[in-house]
């Protein structure tokens, strides 16, 4: 028996929909079997909450009197530079941007206390943000300087647009060297002192739809506490990696580009973070509903942590030098147990993404759908799949 998204939406409207989270479906399938579970459950909700550097927001701040053309000039939000290569008052603030005067890693490891991710969180929190700008002045946009407070409530648009989020699986980072290293995967202690991972595993959106059967362009999602959409496949989308028998990728694979109205979002789900020695970023909360169209979709969402494998990679050498070496393959049940074995050594594990928050997001989305506040969408196009040949390419460096 199969269902359509239209039928599921009809049930949502009537308050008859059966929604469970990606954790709850595991036991349901175990107890009732795939066939019965697929018949009874209409939607499974997923969630993830972790640092996602490829994130940022477009702002249209409104025109000043006299007018100023920020395009081609310089713009700062709380001293953090924003991108101004657009029309007069459109800017983009990226999550990893740092103030010009930030000491960065001049005293290693740098602290990176405030940057683009924090500006975005402050904006969403409704705080006033100081905008300073320099422009060159034109006949139609004569003004050359601007210093003002802006607030998300007053500006025309604030749109979160993240080119790469929700990684389908990820590396487990370790350090084989004799010194501590400071990475985007956190502080890694020498000689396999710790192993850091970053995925919600069995709760993670793309790990529950490994072959992108239901998640596509136009899929409505939970984004940063508000409503968003899948805009495209994310940058570095790499569906052509080795997979398990059930199609679950064994390393970082698919990614999503997502978009949504920042004005509807919440600062608890968009958190500016500082990675010592690395830089700033933004923790983003994403939840994707998966319509249980048939048994095959139901089988995919019943995936467990022990069936999802991730590569352990040395971030002191293999990663920085872009070498493909994998030390071990471990699964998320092992990672979440608190320790894994690498080269015969027991190594404690730490997580960069919050499983507790991923679970909370899946719960919120479940509630929205149960209460009829959130309808599912039919994707308008698919994202490149495992058989597409679409892949991730290294830079081909050439002399200019």
């Amino acid at each position: 028996m199969s269902k359509t998204i239209a039928e599921i939406n009809e049930k949502i409207r009537k308050g008859q929909v059966v929604v469970v989270t990606a954790e709850e479906i595991i036991d349901i399938v175990e107890e009732k079997g795939l066939k019965k579970a697929a018949e009874e459950v209409d939607v499974v909700t997923t969630g993830t909450f972790g640092p996602m550097c490829s994130s940022g927001a477009f702002l249209n701040i409104g025109h000043s009197r006299p007018r100023i053309k920020l395009g081609g000039g310089k713009v700062y939000l709380n001293r953090v530079p924003a991108y101004a290569g657009l029309a007069a008052v459109d800017i983009y603030i990226g999550a990893t941007a740092l103030p010009d005067g930030d000491p960065r890693n001049s005293e290693h490891p740098g602290e990176f206390r405030y940057g683009g991710g924090h500006v975005i969180q402050d904006l969403v929190a409704g705080k006033d943000v100081e905008l300073t700008a320099e422009a060159y002045g034109t006949d139609c946009y004569p003004r050359r300087r601007l210093e003002t407070l802006i607030n998300i409530r007053d500006i025309n648009e604030a749109v979160l647009f993240n080119p790469r989020n929700a990684y389908q699986n990820y590396n487990v980072a370790v350090n084989l060297s004799d010194g501590t290293i400071y990475t985007y995967m956190g502080v890694l202690k020498p000689r396999l002192g710790n192993a850091n991972y970053s995925s919600a595993g069995q709760l993670s959106p793309l790990l529950n739809d490994p072959l992108y059967r239901t998640i596509g362009i136009g899929t409505r999602i939970f984004l940063g506490g508000g409503i968003g959409y899948v805009a495209w496949h994310g940058t570095q989308h790499n569906p052509s990696v080795p997979r398990t028998e059930r199609g679950v990728p064994k390393s970082g694979a698919g990614t999503l580009a997502v978009i949504g109205d920042l004005k509807t979002m919440d600062p608890s789900w968009l958190v500016g973070v500082s990675m010592t020695g690395y830089g700033v970023s933004l923790m983003v909360g994403i939840g994707v509903p998966i319509p249980i169209l048939d048994e095959e979709v139901c089988r995919s969402v019943s995936v467990r942590d022990e069936e999802i494998w991730a590569p352990v990679v040395d971030y002191s050498d293999s990663y920085p030098n872009f070498k493909p070496e994998v030390l071990e393959e471990v699964n998320y049940a092992q990672l979440r147990s608190g320790k894994i074995t690498v080269r015969g050594k027991e190594v404690p594990t730490g997580s960069l993404s919050s499983y507790a928050k991923a679970r909370e997001i899946a719960g919120i989305l479940k509630e929205w759908i149960s209460k009829g506040k959130f309808l599912l969408t039919q994707p308008v196009a698919s994202i490149p799949g495992a058989e597409s040949g679409y892949t991730f390419r290294p830079l081909k460096e050439r002399k200019p």
Partner: protein
């Protein structure tokens, strides 16, 4: 033997005096230094565990207070800004004493300040800067 973990702050004018020596000699106390940060002509910081007979401990501490050393109980120093903690758990592997731990059921991180030795390993490793220290 009773012991107390303390954070001492020495004003600049006390930094070059043999204060800890007096605690040992005159008050018969033993100590175990957990952390020390002293630079000449500046404020000094000492985190240590002081042990001895209860009465001796008390008089040793009043001796320190009498000199103008600022004393703070130690767990109070490192704290968690609950609003900023995302419970990712990346601090747990950095914590040498188990003061930070992850509940396998709820997947929430808890902080037991009585186990904290103020090594500050969590502070640099916390992405949202929820772990903080008072100075």
């Amino acid at each position: 033997m009773p012991s107390k973990k303390l954070v001492l702050r020495f004003p600049a004018h006390l930094v070059d005096r043999p204060i800890i020596y007096r605690l040992v000699k005159d008050y018969d106390l033993t100590f175990n230094i957990l952390k020390a940060q002293i630079s000449p002509q500046e404020e000094g910081l000492l985190v240590f565990e002081l042990s001895g007979e209860p009465r001796a401990l008390e008089s040793g501490i009043s001796y320190l207070k009498g000199l103008g050393v600022h004393i703070q109980a130690f767990g109070e120093d490192v704290y968690r800004d609950e609003g900023r903690c995302t419970h990712c758990g990346v601090c747990v592997v950095m914590c040498p004493t188990g003061a930070l731990s992850l509940d396998k059921e709820t997947m929430l991180v808890s902080f037991d300040s009585s186990k904290c030795i103020a090594c500050e390993a969590c502070i640099g490793s916390c992405p949202p800067k929820a772990m903080q220290i008072r100075f």
